[in-house]
């Protein structure tokens, strides 16, 4: 299923909130821009905090041993899509 822009927006808000990103508005986060490293400049500690926030908000667990992690964490869009899939499954 395709994530609606709404769910992407909601996740963007969660990212800004959970990581206390200063000077970044949720709507500024490009859906296709890189989250980890370049782009938004998140590190793997940020990813850990984000995963915990996602678990709390959506009740789904992101796993470190998922072979698709590089793709899942690649962008707001891919992460949002993955969360939607987990919620359905």
């Amino acid at each position: 299923m395709n994530p609606t822009p709404d769910s992407e927006q909601e996740l963007a808000r969660l990212i800004v909130e959970a990581l206390r990103l200063e000077g970044v508005a949720p709507e500024q986060i490009e859906p296709e821009a890189q989250l980890f490293g370049a782009g938004l400049g998140l590190d793997s500690l940020d990813m850990l905090e984000l995963s915990m926030a996602v678990e709390q908000r959506y009740g789904v667990k992101l796993r470190s041993d998922d072979p698709n992690n590089e793709k899942i964490f690649a962008s707001l869009r891919s992460l949002s899509r993955h969360i939607q899939l987990l919620r359905v499954g």
């Binding site: 980890f36 793997s44 915990m52 041993d65 964490f73």
Partner: protein, 282 residues
């Protein structure tokens, strides 16, 4: 960071390293330590960065002016711990005498059942702790490593045909720290060498041996996020076949406390300092 120490090319070809491993396993440690004398001398003469950074460190750690012997001993002790690594990954840790100091602090932390973050450093060797903890104490131990350190370790293992008893968590993946948390949730031990700064990590300048140095804030942030108990550990080479593993509790001002204890042990065991780069300038 400048990447100075990682930029230093590995001297000695794979062939030479393979030869050294063969000698280590077939001719014994005493003979190999004799060989380390000319090898350390070679590095003393041919590795100006190592020599300079050793001298800069000794200038601060010793109460006297460092002599050339200090630099030589520094390189010799480093070479010895690298040699010993060959024995350790080959299941020969029983050849060594290992004193565990203040182990109760570690056991108490583990008894909480939330895993344990072990804050180590490049003062001495973490290898001995990883091996003793996993083989002798039957603990599940994970060590967080930079990708290049883990590649070097993998090379050593490939060359000597062995598997490590502990697990390596490689930094630089989006899921690296998530994996640390999963290990801790299973009650496992995760070791982090907290005295180096990688890439653009947030840091804090803390006085170290009389001059501010940058220390990473990431290990303490990881501790805060996971809520796991944290214990400091120093695995020091004591000469001969003897190693000492010292556990210490972490005080309230975590980073400050870590740097103070690092300084304390660096002063008392200066030859164990294995950060061969401009530590204060990096």
């Amino acid at each position: 960071m400048s990447g100075q120490w990682r930029g230093q090319r590995e001297r000695g070809s794979r062939k030479a390293i393979r030869l050294m491993i063969w000698l280590a396993l077939h001719c014994g440690r005493t003979a190999c330590r004799v060989l380390l004398v000319p090898i350390s001398t070679y590095f003393f003469l041919a590795a100006p960065l190592a020599r300079r950074s050793s001298r800069a460190f000794m200038n601060r750690a010793l109460d006297r002016r460092p002599a050339w012997r200090d630099t030589f001993m520094h390189l010799f002790v480093f070479a010895t711990t690298l040699l010993d690594r060959v024995y350790l990954v080959n299941g020969r840790h029983r050849d060594f005498i290992v004193d565990l100091n203040n182990e109760q602090v570690f056991l108490n932390a583990l008894a909480e059942g939330r895993g344990c973050l072990l804050l180590g450093s490049h003062l001495g060797s973490f290898e001995m702790l990883g091996i003793i903890g996993s083989v002798e104490k039957k603990l599940a131990i994970n060590v967080v490593m930079h990708v290049e350190d883990s590649a070097r370790l993998r090379d050593l293992l490939l060359l000597s045909g062995n598997a490590l008893p502990y697990k390596v968590i490689t930094l630089g993946h989006p899921g690296s720290m998530l994996r640390v948390k999963e290990c801790l949730e299973r009650g496992e031990v995760v070791g982090i060498l907290a005295d180096r700064v990688y890439r653009s990590e947030p840091t804090l300048c803390v006085p170290f041996l009389g001059r501010p140095a940058r220390f990473s804030l990431s290990p303490m942030r990881l501790a805060r996020i996971t809520g796991a108990p944290v214990v400091m550990v120093f695995g020091l080479f004591r000469g001969g076949r003897r190693y000492e593993i010292v556990f210490e509790p972490l005080g309230t001002h975590a980073l400050q406390c870590y740097v103070e204890r690092l300084e304390h042990h660096a002063r008392h065991s200066p030859y164990n300092w294995f950060n061969f780069y401009d530590y204060w300038g990096a």
